[in-house]
């Protein structure tokens, strides 16, 4: 009993100590609560009453594009899209399940699915992923490589046909592919322009997706002229992931659609609308309180392009017709499958028409971008620049007569014209396209003494001189066209004398059709290198969607440089170019006979191309005495039949026909003018 008493004696005391500790802890809590709720209560209350601000954004329609006569070429169409919103830490399996479920309700095109997509998809949801890794990787690789390197190796080694994806699987993969491109908490379009029937089915099942799938009103670009120039108008799409930060900084949302190529990209900042922002004040449950404050956005500005769609359509038809005709008439033309044509205003640089046609499997594909992306040896068409360079460097002067006969140079095949012309002057050399005349100019610029076969000591300087003057015409330098990218031709470097001579006949450096049209415009307009451009005007958005507003900007012709050559020298070359097309001896004389209402000037070209093949080209302008339109025609792999001249003649005829017919202007709705602006009764 004694022991028990002793043992018991400590417990009540210790329990009291425990109780004291509890008391102290709870007192601390009460004190702290007093501080938070009573001492600082006021300031917390003020803070809490500030409530939460929520901003909702409404998409604004993108600006439209019109041709120079007010015809709509790129329009918007309201559509519905199905979107997927990813949450943080969403597991691959969950995404797979959503994609699978959705694939049961909608059709999804699987054409864009790449091999890589299929492999990514295959690996993403497989429960036995580990086994696939173990099968495809060596032990060493498993140990030494990091996750990303391992993944890439597995992707690399996975055989596409091993995946065994059924048609249904592919559809799931196509949906999944769109889903994974999204960002957390940002709706990502899974399918744009969803048919009404699918909308109905998906709406019925929306609840199954727990808010992760939604149907949203959206807009899609439409093209009233269908394929015509569509590629130049460019694409609108998801912001490329490498550019996302910049766009977000500019106030875009991650799921915004932006211009990703050509004009849509070039004029993104103009075409993009300003979103309407609606600021709500919300209570605890997220319900708006009171009237929201609206920051009215506006649709994007419209742009008027320099194209004449009527002319464009006709030129496209001509090019298609002539390619087919040339192939049909001459067996040698069996490789001829494409041609490129640009028509432009030589005084302003406005591009009227830009045609690229490529025949593939019996069908024509549009490739107008070939005019800025592709570069070719342009042949004799550059001779105008060669002659002017000759004058400027003082190696010839107007009227200089040179002897056209085959030239033998050491270590080089004999260099000659297509026939021996004997004594020709500068104008005749252009008219009949004398190569030897140009060779002699090049040799003189190089300081080469042909009779004694010596000289050409400073080859770099010789090439630099030639290119310096060629560049003034736009040959070998960017034209400055308003597109995100253009090729500026191929510079062959400083090589043999023979190469320098070939440059004089357009057989060494290569140029794009756009550079050629700039070059011929420079000669046509008396020596001004104009920046070619596709934008004519920017219109502010009108009040309704079909209405244009005031002009916000008008493109002013931009002179990039004036060539160094004297006006009278330019006139002399113009005369030579006139004779090409208007004399029987002229290389294009037979094709430009009996033109109605205009006289053209120009220069033909035949270049050796891709080994033994030929390329036919033509540059020119009309009318001769007061040029309205300059053009270039390039037909690679054309062996026979003068397709360049046939196209050239036909497109000039088309241009002047349309001019005579008058442009079918589409009426652009203008906002009502102020009464003071017209003479009508003032109401």
């Amino acid at each position: 009993m004694e022991a028990k008493k002793k043992k018991k004696s400590h417990v009540p005391f210790r329990l009291n100590i425990l109780f004291l500790a509890v008391f102290l802890l709870f007192t601390t809590l009460i004190l702290r609560l007093g501080v938070v709720q009573i001492v600082y209560g006021d300031s917390f209350k003020a803070e809490a009453e500030r409530q939460e601000n929520v901003t909702a954004k409404l998409d604004a329609p993108r600006g439209k594009m019109y041709d120079r006569y007010g015809r709509v070429v790129v329009d918007n169409e309201p559509v519905f899209s199905i979107t997927f919103t990813r949450t943080d830490n969403m597991k691959p399996d969950e995404m797979y399940q959503i994609a699978k479920k959705l694939s049961g309700y909608i059709e999804k095109d699987t054409d864009e699915l790449t091999k890589r997509d299929k492999k990514d998809f295959y690996l993403s949801y497989r429960a036995d992923q580990r086994k696939i890794y173990e099968k495809l990787l060596t032990k060493k690789e498993m140990d030494e490589l990091n996750d990303k390197e391992q993944y890439l190796l597995v992707i690399d080694r996975l055989e596409a046909d091993e995946l065994n994806l059924s048609k249904e699987d592919k559809e799931i993969a196509a949906i999944w592919r769109e889903m994974i491109r999204g960002y957390s908490l940002t709706p990502q379009r899974v399918k744009v322009d969803v048919p009404q029937k699918e909308i109905a089915v998906v709406s019925e099942h929306l609840e199954e997706f727990d808010g992760k799938i939604d149907i949203k009103p959206d807009a899609q670009r439409t093209y009233p002229y269908e394929g015509t120039l569509k590629s130049i108008f460019g694409k609108v799409g998801q912001i490329p992931s490498e550019l996302i930060d910049g766009y977000v900084l500019e106030g875009n949302d991650r799921n915004d659609l932006v211009g990703t190529s050509f004009l849509e990209e070039q004029y993104e900042s103009v075409l993009r609308g300003t979103k309407t922002k609606i600021n709500y004040v919300t209570d605890k449950s997220g319900n708006p309180i009171g009237k929201p404050i609206e920051d009215q956005g506006s649709r994007g500005q419209d742009i008027i392009l320099t194209f004449d769609m009527e002319l464009q359509k006709r030129v496209e038809k001509i090019v298609e017709r002539e390619i087919l005709d040339a192939r049909q008439k001459y067996a040698a033309n069996n490789k001829l499958s494409s041609s490129f044509v640009i028509m432009a205003n030589p005084h302003t640089g406005e591009i009227y028409s830009m045609v690229g046609k490529v025949l593939e499997d019996g069908k024509f594909q549009d490739a107008p971008f070939g005019n800025v992306y592709n570069q070719y040896p342009m042949g004799s068409t550059v001779k105008g620049a060669t002659v002017l360079t000759g004058y400027q460097t003082g190696v010839i002067e107007p009227g200089t007569v040179l002897y056209d006969t085959p030239l033998e140079l050491p270590g080089t095949p004999i260099k000659k014209s297509y026939r021996n012309m004997g004594y020709v002057n500068d104008i005749e050399a252009l008219q009949q396209s004398s190569n030897v005349y140009m060779f002699r100019i090049a040799m003189r610029i190089a300081g080469y003494d042909f009779e004694n076969k010596r000289g050409f000591n400073n080859r770099q300087e010789a090439f630099e001189t030639m290119r310096y003057y060629f560049n003034q015409f736009g040959l070998g330098v960017p034209t400055g066209i308003d597109l995100p990218y253009e090729d500026d031709g191929y510079n062959g470097g400083s090589q043999a004398l023979g190469n320098l001579m070939d440059m004089g006949i357009g057989q060494f450096d290569t140029y794009t059709p756009m550079q050629m049209v700039q070059y011929i415009s420079t000669i046509a307009n008396g020596g001004y290198r104009m920046q070619p451009h596709l934008l004519k005007e920017i219109k502010k958005p009108g009040i309704s969607a079909d209405e244009q507003g005031d002009t916000a900007y008008e493109f002013q012709p931009n002179i990039l440089n004036r060539i160094d050559m004297k006006p009278e020298w330019i006139e002399r070359v113009q005369k030579g170019l006139y004779m090409v097309m208007n004399t029987t001896k002229g290389t294009a004389g037979s094709y430009f006979k009996n033109t109605k209402g205009y006289e053209a000037a120009g220069k033909t070209g035949t270049a050796q191309y891709d080994g033994d093949s030929y390329l036919l080209s033509l540059v020119g302008y009309a009318p001769y005495d007061n040029p309205e339109v300059a053009f270039v025609v390039v037909s690679p792999y054309a062996e026979e039949g003068g397709i360049n001249n046939k196209i050239g003649r036909a497109i000039l005829d088309a241009y002047f026909d349309i001019k005579k017919e008058g442009h079918k202007k589409e009426i652009i709705k203008q906002p009502d003018k102020k009464p003071s602006d017209n003479n009508q009764d003032p109401y």
Binding site: L18, I38, G41
Partner: protein, 395 residues
């Protein structure tokens, strides 16, 4: 021994304690209703169902005389450890491991739950009670064996307690669940205090823990990088600390919850905004942050009322412990006090910025079945001790 009430321990229930429990249940339902509204998933109803289950558990606990727990203690302990081991082992054989269907899913970065169908259960909650019973058992047996204790015997007891504690602490740390680990420590500490171990040893242990905490604070003050690189490791843990110390700079992560919580509680002021009038929103308010809802809608009056309820609850438990003439009963009560007090202090402390944020629910108030079940079983133990006490009063 002729006491007629002997056969019916249910009639000797501490109704004061039950009334306090009733008030806590009311507070819980009101707070949960306010936190989630009546529409979403019927949380209040589910909570009431869990309470019903809890009362069932109390009844089961009260069937046996608490003396019987002395004998059963190792089975209970073993069962708890087995459940904790399952958390570690089942994912190794579960074909659905790592997916949504896993029996042991990842929730908030830890594997602490069993889930099957719609029911989720956290075994570490039960382990708290098992730990109380087994340590109380060890102390009782030790004290009966060594009536005259030298410092050597004290250390022996300390060693036994440590030995019992290591497996559950280790298993819970693996999940990892810092909150429950701390609750284990609180239980151990309160049992150590009442076990009769010499003050010297207790003070020494206290000193060591204070030095440990003080050391961490000193390192944080003078060389935070060392703390980050060598002690906390995990960014998740680190963010908790930053969220606590500088909530306004780290408003997106853990700081977000604290900022919102302080805003809610503080703006409640003295009288609160009124039931259902709270306007500070934060997610999952019905679980760990339920106290913020009470603070916002019922103000200082409401919060001090709830704290008083807990204080009275502890008072009733102390009462039961003091009255009990069996030391085992006192030890059980002391363990329950440690468990409840620490959880209340830690939970309320974290929502008012006094302590770092750890995922500990507020006993009896927070929404959640496992927590309620464990707390109710603990109360069952106390009621049991209390109801078997009087029969000895006629000795």
């Amino acid at each position: 021994m002729t006491n007629p009430e002997k056969e019916t321990p249910f009639s000797q229930i501490d109704y004061n304690l039950l009334f306090i429990l009733f008030l806590l249940i009311c507070s819980s339902c009101i707070a949960i209703y306010s936190a989630v509204g009546q529409y979403e998933g019927n949380f209040v109803l589910k909570q009431l169902v869990w309470y019903a289950v809890g009362f069932g558990a109390i009844a089961v606990v009260m069937i046996l005389d608490f003396d019987q727990f002395l004998k059963l203690s190792w089975y209970i302990y073993g069962f708890g450890i087995l459940l904790l081991l399952g958390i570690i082992l089942i994912p190794l054989v579960d074909p659905n491991a790592g997916t949504k269907e896993a029996i042991v899913p990842y929730i908030n970065g830890a594997q602490s739950w069993y889930r099957y169908g719609g029911i989720a259960f956290q075994p570490s909650e039960l382990m708290k009670v098992a730990l109380i019973i087994s340590i109380a058992n060890a102390i009782t047996l030790h004290n009966e064996k060594y009536l005259d204790r030298s410092i050597r015997e004290d250390f022996l007891l300390l060693g036994k307690i440590i030995l019992i504690s290591i497996p559950p602490i280790f298993l819970v740390m693996l999940q990892p669940d810092l909150g429950t680990t701390l609750v284990f420590f609180a239980i151990i500490a309160s049992l150590l205090l009442v076990s009769g171990i010499r003050w010297r040893i207790i003070l020494l242990l206290l000193l060591i823990s204070l030095l440990g905490i003080g050391g961490l604070v000193a390192i944080y003050m003078y060389n935070p990088e060392f703390l980050i690189n060598y002690i906390l490791h995990d960014e998740y843990q680190l963010n908790r600390f930053y969220g606590w110390l500088q909530p306004y700079e780290f408003e997106q992560g853990f700081g977000f919850q604290l900022v919102k919580s302080l805003l809610a509680i503080g703006s409640g002021q003295l009288y609160g905004k009124g039931f259902g009038e709270g306007n500070v929103y934060f997610p999952e308010a019905q679980t760990d942050f339920i106290f913020s809802v009470i603070g916002e809608e019922f103000g200082f009056m409401g919060t001090s009322f709830v704290i008083s309820l807990f204080f009275l609850l502890v008072y009733r438990i102390i009462h039961a412990a003091l009255e009990s003439n069996d030391p085992f009963g006192s030890y059980l009560c002391a363990g329950v006090i440690g468990m409840i007090t620490f959880q209340v202090f830690q939970n309320i402390g974290m929502v008012i910025g006094l302590l770092p944020i750890t995922g500990i629910p507020l006993p009896f108030i927070s929404y959640g079945g496992s927590s309620i079940l464990a707390s109710m079983i603990a109360i069952g133990l106390v009621l049991n001790v209390r109801s078997r006490t009087r029969k000895y009063m006629f000795d």
